[in-house]
Amino acid sequence: MKTGIIKTVTFTVVCLVLGILIALQMKNVNADQISEQNLEELQTKLIEYANKNVELQNRNTELYQYIDILEDDKASGSAQVDSILREKERAAIFAGLREVRNYGLEIRLSTAENHMIRDSVLRQFVNELRALGAQAVSINDERLVATSEIRASGSVIIINGNGYNRESTFVIKAITDPQKEDYILSYLESIRRSVTNDPQFQNDQYDIRFSTLPELTIPALSEDSIAFQIDLLQPEDN
């Protein structure tokens, strides 16, 4: 009788302990998962924001200084006007309204006789050049701006409203960073291979050549070019 009670108590205690331990284990299994990877992603985002904030802070400080100069009644008017003119010139250069020159590279594209250059191939090179940091780009001496169309229409490709024969050689020029020459050329080479190996372009037999030049000139785009669509940019109440 006594042995029976001991056995029952022992089993009860053992089963109780077992039950508690199993419950504890289950709790841990269900605990939410925060991994080192999540933390790393969060840290990367943090660094990005920290950098952006520093950059914005610096920009705002510069703006305060510039506004102080503009609002300084004691400063000479001509010095202030000169600084505005310099600002205007920089905006004009950025907008593509000035003819510019420097080290750069040239891409010449042609196809087999009676085959036509595709607009998508030109757009691909232009997009890649922009991503590679080109500060000015032109096709057949048509300066490209953000709204420049590169569109095939029958036997011509229209750029900034002007048509260029698709059976002729197209020349893309870009002003790029000479220190990145190797990287840029190897990247463009991979684009060249992807175009020439693309089955849909096989019959066109693209001939794509690159050359770097110590100095090349890219013309300005006239401010009344169709590419700017000035009538749509103006405030509507004007």
Binding site: N127, E223, Q229
Partner: protein, 241 residues
């Protein structure tokens, strides 16, 4: 030597308890590490919230400063009797993309297939950098005068590019949905998107890429945010006089 059923059962139970205790000790150790990770994660989340708030404040301050700068320039040039320069400056800034543009246009929203499953769905069901570039090219060719992607104005120095899973525009990280707004003739711009075979295929059932086209009476395209920091974009351009 014989064991009773009770002893055997007790032996098995104690063995189970032993192994669970061992596992629990390991789990508790891991729990300490996890708890530390969790604390650091919560802390970083809080830091990020503060940084985001600071970014919002600085952006608003920047917007007000740019307005103040424009007003100061206008006042000064009027004071100096140089209204002509003011007009030229405004015009040049407009062509460069440094002014807000508003009016009729379209809004194109690109997004990944809802409930995209990396194992079941193809890569065509998610938005790539090339898709955004493709939409911009279609809008350019249809006569758009100005456009933005997730409120980033597309200007001469802009490019859309991906590094790993992140799409960048004007050095800013973009996250889906990708909202492209363009100023121009709404019918012509919308038709260019609707009639594009590539996007039509991607939006078909099975691939289900989200492509929403809205024709709007007013879209607001923001100015280029880096307009007062042009040096990195023009430092290699020598003007030919």
């Amino acid at each position: 030597m014989r064991f009773s059923k009770t002893s055997t059962l007790l032996f098995v139970l104690l063995l189970i308890i032993g192994s669970i205790v061992t596992s629990h000790v390991q789990t508790v150790r891991a729990e300490f590490r996890r708890s530390d990770l969790e604390t650091r994660y919560r802390q970083r989340q809080e830091d990020l919230r503060l940084y985001e708030e600071q970014f919002e404040r600085l952006t608003e301050e920047n917007r007000q400063l740019l307005q103040r700068q424009e007003d100061a320039i206008a006042d000064l040039l009027q004071r100096e009797g140089q209204e002509g320069i003011l007009e030229e400056l405004r015009f040049t800034r407009m062509l460069a993309g440094f002014t807000q543009v508003s009016g009729e246009g379209v809004r194109i929203t690109l997004n990944d297939k809802p409930d995209y499953d990396i194992f079941l769905d193809t890569e065509d069901s998610i938005v790539h950098d090339g898709d955004i570039r493709h939409v911009l090219d279609l809008l350019r060719n249809a006569g758009a005068a100005a456009f933005s992607v997730n409120q980033q104005r597309i200007v001469n120095s802009s490019y859309i590019y991906c590094i790993g899973p992140t799409i960048l525009c004007n050095q800013q990280r973009l996250t889906p949905p990708y909202v492209i707004e363009a100023r121009g003739n709404p019918e012509a711009l919308a038709a260019a998107i609707h009639q594009d075979p590539t996007l039509s295929i991607r939006a078909m059932p099975g691939i289900d890429l989200i492509v929403i086209v809205e024709q709007l009476e007013e879209v607001v395209i923001p100015p280029f945010a880096d307009a007062n920091n042009l040096e990195p974009f023009i430092n290699r351009l020598e003007v030919v006089r």
